[in-house]
């Protein structure tokens, strides 16, 4: 009670500051915090948008984990994105940024554009991949393999469950180079050159030590931002799957938690069930973010 009243006192004291952040904070409270809490509440109910929600306890979660085989496919795919695409993209982003940072400013600008282009292009970029992996003999991959004599007839990559997931991972990797990449480039620019000179005097011998003891610690806020972005992106993969592979995908091979959520929320209007999926997704993201942040805090210690 005491802390609460003291908090209230503090708030009163800084009421001008609170007023200042209100334009952002109020919409955030209403459209984010409130909706997350509402989704958590709805996840214990049956709600089809037309009737009033009916409380059904854990039933949605029981169905989700025990009955819904497609959800377990979605979980598995999302896990693969988080475990493979996330870290791979994070490391790739950093190294590309690191290499580009050494270049002359004009070249750097050009190459930055090249790497950022996929994110700018957005949905229209899928047309390229559709062309690359086209199931006809004119698709790039098919054409090359046919010409090399490795294939007898074209393969339908985007409809074949053997290829769906690897393709999804590759395209997602390519798409996800955007935000964190820019953040890293910006971060690298902020590193003070004097620090390197000082370190050289203090006995840093090679580039790796430079990287580990100076660049990374200085860049820690940018790395944290990049990691949060990557994790959010990996958990939220859906546009690639829907635009490239269709919705639903063949045998649900390309299903992710978010496409599963969209299926139940937007198509079937089973909002209670969709809320349960969303709650699980939210909890997983929170836990994962916390873990990664703990890990990143130790860099350069």
């Amino acid at each position: 009670m005491k802390t609460l009243s003291s908090t209230w006192k503090e708030m009163k004291k800084y009421r001008h500051s609170y007023l200042m952040i209100a334009p952002y904070y109020l919409p955030f409270l209403v459209f984010t915090v409130f909706s997350v809490l509402m989704a958590m509440g709805l996840s214990f109910s049956y709600f089809n948008v037309l009737e009033t929600p009916r409380l059904i306890g854990w039933q949605n979660y029981i169905n989700l984990f025990l009955q819904d085989d497609i959800f377990s496919i979605a979980m598995k795919n999302t896990f693969l994105f988080v475990a493979i695409t996330g870290p791979a993209s994070f490391i790739l982003c950093f190294f590309v940024a690191w290499v580009i940072n050494e270049m002359r400013p004009k070249v750097r600008a050009a190459i930055t554009l090249v790497f950022y282009a996929p994110t700018l292009a957005g949905v229209s970029a899928f047309a390229i991949w559709k062309f690359v992996f086209s199931g006809s003999e004119y698709g790039l991959v098919n054409a090359f393999l046919l010409k090399a004599g490795l294939l007898m007839e074209p393969l339908t990559y985007l409809k074949d469950i053997r290829f769906i997931l690897p393709i999804l991972i590759v395209v997602q990797l390519w798409m996800s180079l955007g935000h964190s990449f820019l953040a890293f480039i910006a971060g690298l620019q902020t590193v003070d050159r004097k620090l390197y000179e000082a370190a050289a005097v203090d006995g840093v011998r090679n580039r790796w030590q430079e990287l580990w003891y100076i660049t990374l610690p200085v860049m820690r806020p940018f790395l944290l931002f990049g990691a949060v972005m990557q994790i959010a992106q990996s958990f939220g993969v859906s546009a690639v799957s829907i635009n490239l592979l269709g919705f639903p995908t063949t045998k649900y091979a390309g299903r992710t938690i978010v496409t599963h959520l969209m299926d139940y929320g937007i198509i079937r209007y089973e909002m209670g069930y969709a809320s349960a999926i969303a709650t699980i997704l939210f909890l997983m993201q929170v836990i994962f973010n916390k873990t990664v942040q703990r890990g990143l805090k130790r860099i350069g210690e």
């Binding site: 029981i62 984990f65 896990f79 693969l80 490795l150 007898m152 790796w208 130790r298």
Partner: protein, 695 residues
């Protein structure tokens, strides 16, 4: 009482006297286990009769090539060497067709190699050396004669030598022959050529492909060209599916089932795709080299069971529609029931008839009691009578407890009746991972549903506990840091220092070496932990993901393997780095290598336990986590190498590559040494024998 023992002894004596007179089971019957090992099995079929041409007044057969038994029991034999067809009725009366009426003129066969009788009773003969297929009616008048089709899809130089024919219910005629690489020739009812169906794929071989791309034009011309294999033989089941065999050492699918489009739709759900003998010798000195060669195939009308005849070893492999090997019989050699050059197989009821080209005889095989049980169980199962099938499979298991398809059969019945736990046990016994996973999925669902609130509670409690532990850790952080900085750390602290390496690879390895935290003892402790976690993983990983036979695996070998691998790596790395200016000693290399295995210890043990809660589709969790652990270990190894040798990254990577090369050289030298010792030993023992002999 006394009388009784005497009687007993007498029986025993008689048994032993009679035993050698019984048909010797030298053609040893077996089935393949999941681990590619032949396991002895009771005989499912036994030869009951041998039919020779001379016994029925038809004269001896000469190089008979094909055999066909019509639904009413007439047996047609393409007696190629005598240029005739012999028909043997069920009452053993013979008819000999050595000529027929072709548009009012007598005409003869020239080495007919294949024949087929369709449902209307029309006899189709592949009159091979006359380069035609002849369709004859019951009065042996030719209805139709098919010669080389005049079509531009045929190659110019193609010579039409039809050797096998088959007709489906719709009257479509399929013809096979040597040099027909494009597949099977299909003719319609009136004998018009329709095209080829179901061509075999060219088997792709990366090595050959690379050789071809770098070879000069002259060299390329000398090389063997890539052409698809032609089919050897065919059969048609009651539903009109074509079964074919191919002679193909490279291909994994010598047996195929074609639908009307010519696509291969054979189910291959057994331990191995149907391809005959699995553990075969490729050495030049073996009596039979390489894979089975299927000369013929016979399918029963329902399509549930097919018999593929391996002419190389004279064995008949029997598969069910799932592609499981049910049993095999026959063998190579002179005795009855064995073959020198088996050329054709066909079915009549449950009896199997096998034609031997060299012996010129037909061997009739009848199912034994055991074989009958299997056939019956198989039929009940495909009819959906799972209860009945379960009883039969249980009886079969009493005769052969190693019979894996029976466990699967029982499991399927139990799965249907909802006893998932028992079904799981049976699928495990039958090594049926797919079905086990399915049964386990239902079982897991059941258990989780019963205890859902408990599980949620447990997860919540675990989460709260974890948060508390982490809080506590954060509070003690500073204290722990100081503790590690002690000048004389205890052995336990030295070992626990490994956890610091996880988060600080470079500093950790630096401290291990330069602040003398790593010792022989602490590294040995980590080595022991690595060995423990690897062997633990080997033993405790769920049956679904475990590729190691937990029963036959020898623990001491596995321990020795890890130890030798570690020792060889450290030795090789030390050898390479001492030449390349590395600063690490043998001791520090060993220490850093042992400490680098920490991710393996941390992940392999929990993942082995966790895998027992996963089904096959969730294998990704297991595999990804384990590969991350191995990759992180590799990263730590590189970091350690960089630190202790004071190398740059590229130098480290290149020394590691050189280390691998050195390991290969060491293995080669070891092999050489062992061979040399063997030679010396045989030389010494030969001299010793000579000396002993002369004295």
């Amino acid at each position: 009482m006394k009388n009784n023992t005497l009687k007993y002894r007498l029986t025993l004596l008689i048994t032993f006297m009679v035993l050698p007179l019984l048909p010797a089971e030298s053609w040893y019957s077996y089935n393949y286990s999941y681990w590619e090992k032949p396991v002895p099995a009771p005989e499912a079929y036994r030869h009951s009769e041998i039919l020779r041409g001379e016994d029925f007044g038809a004269g001896a057969f000469r190089e008979p090539e094909d055999l066909f038994i019509s639904p009413d029991g007439d047996m047609y034999i393409a007696d190629g060497g005598n240029n005739r067809i012999v028909v043997l009725s069920p009452t053993r009366e013979t008819r000999i067709i050595d000529s027929f009426t072709n548009k009012g003129v007598r005409d003869n066969f020239n080495r007919p190699e294949g024949l087929f009788v369709d449902s209307r009773g029309i006899l189709y003969v592949a009159d091979t050396l006359n380069r035609r297929v002849v369709a004859l009616n019951a009065d042996f008048e030719s209805l139709n004669i098919i010669t080389r089709p005049d079509s531009d899809i045929l190659r110019e130089e193609y010579e039409f030598f039809p050797s096998k024919v088959g007709v489906d219910k719709a009257g479509r005629l399929y013809v096979l022959g040597p040099g027909m690489y494009e597949g099977m020739m299909e003719f319609d009812r009136s004998g018009r050529f329709h095209g080829f169906i179901g061509s075999n794929r060219v088997t792709f071989n990366l090595w050959k492909y690379l050789m071809r791309t770098i070879a000069t034009k002259e060299q390329r011309e000398k090389m063997q060209i890539f052409i698809p294999q032609e089919y050897r033989n065919l059969d048609i089941d009651g539903r009109g599916f074509l079964y074919t065999t191919t002679r193909d050492e490279d291909q994994k699918t010598p047996i195929k089932k074609h639908n009307a489009e010519g696509l291969d739709i054979l189910t291959r759900e057994g331990f191995f795709p149907p391809s005959g003998d699995i553990s075969v010798s490729y050495s030049e000195t073996a009596s039979y080299v390489g894979k089975s060669f299927f000369a013929d195939i016979a399918v029963d009308d329902s399509g549930d069971i097919y018999y593929a005849l391996d002419s190389k070893r004279g064995r008949v492999f029997t598969y069910n529609s799932e592609g499981q090997l049910l049993f095999l019989f026959g063998g190579a050699g002179e005795p009855d029931g064995c073959f020198t050059d088996a050329s054709a197989v066909d079915l009549y009821g449950n009896e199997v008839y096998v034609l031997d080209k060299v012996k010129g005889s037909i061997t009739v095989f009848s199912p034994t009691e055991y074989g009958n049980l299997i056939l019956e169980a198989q039929q009940s199962q495909s009819r959906g009578e799972y209860r009945r099938a379960e009883e039969l499979w249980t009886t079969i298991l009493r005769r052969n407890s190693n019979y894996d398809p029976a466990y699967t059969g029982i499991g399927k019945s139990l799965l249907r009746s909802g006893s998932f736990r028992e079904a799981m046990d049976n699928f495990r016994m039958g090594y049926n991972k797919k079905s086990f996973s399915k049964a386990y999925k239902y079982y897991r669902q059941e258990v989780m549903k019963d205890h859902f609130s408990l599980i949620v509670l447990f997860i919540a409690a675990a989460a709260v506990g974890l948060i508390l532990i982490l809080r506590l850790r954060d509070r003690n952080r500073e204290k722990r840091k100081r503790k590690f900085l002690g000048p004389e750390p205890s052995q336990g602290e030295r070992i626990l220092y490994g956890f610091r390496i996880l988060a600080h690879p470079f500093d950790g390895h630096y401290d291990l070496k330069f602040r003398a935290i790593g010792t022989w003892g602490s590294a040995a402790a980590w080595t022991a932990l690595i060995i423990f976690s690897i062997t633990f993983n080997m033993q405790m990983t769920s049956f679904l993901f475990n590729e190691v036979n937990t029963v036959t695996v020898k623990l001491q070998f596995e321990v020795a393997k890890v130890l030798i691998a570690l020792f060889v790596f450290v030795l090789a790395n030390w050898t390479v780095t001492s030449i390349m200016g590395g600063e690490g000693s043998f001791r520090s290399i060993f220490i850093s290598t042992a400490y680098s295995g920490i991710p393996i210890v941390l992940v392999f043990v929990p993942m082995a336990l966790l895998s027992n809660f996963l089904i096959l589709e969730e294998g990704a969790y297991y595999y990804v986590m384990e590969s991350i652990a191995v990759m992180y270990s590799l990263f730590l190894l590189i970091a350690g190498n960089m630190t202790i040798h004071n190398y740059s990254l590229w130098k480290t990577v290149s020394t590691l590559v050189l280390t691998v090369v050195t390991i290969a050289i060491m293995a080669f030298l070891a092999l050489l040494f062992i061979t040399f010792i063997g030679q010396v030993w045989s030389f010494v023992s030969a001299i010793y024998k000579e000396v002993i002999f002369r004295i």
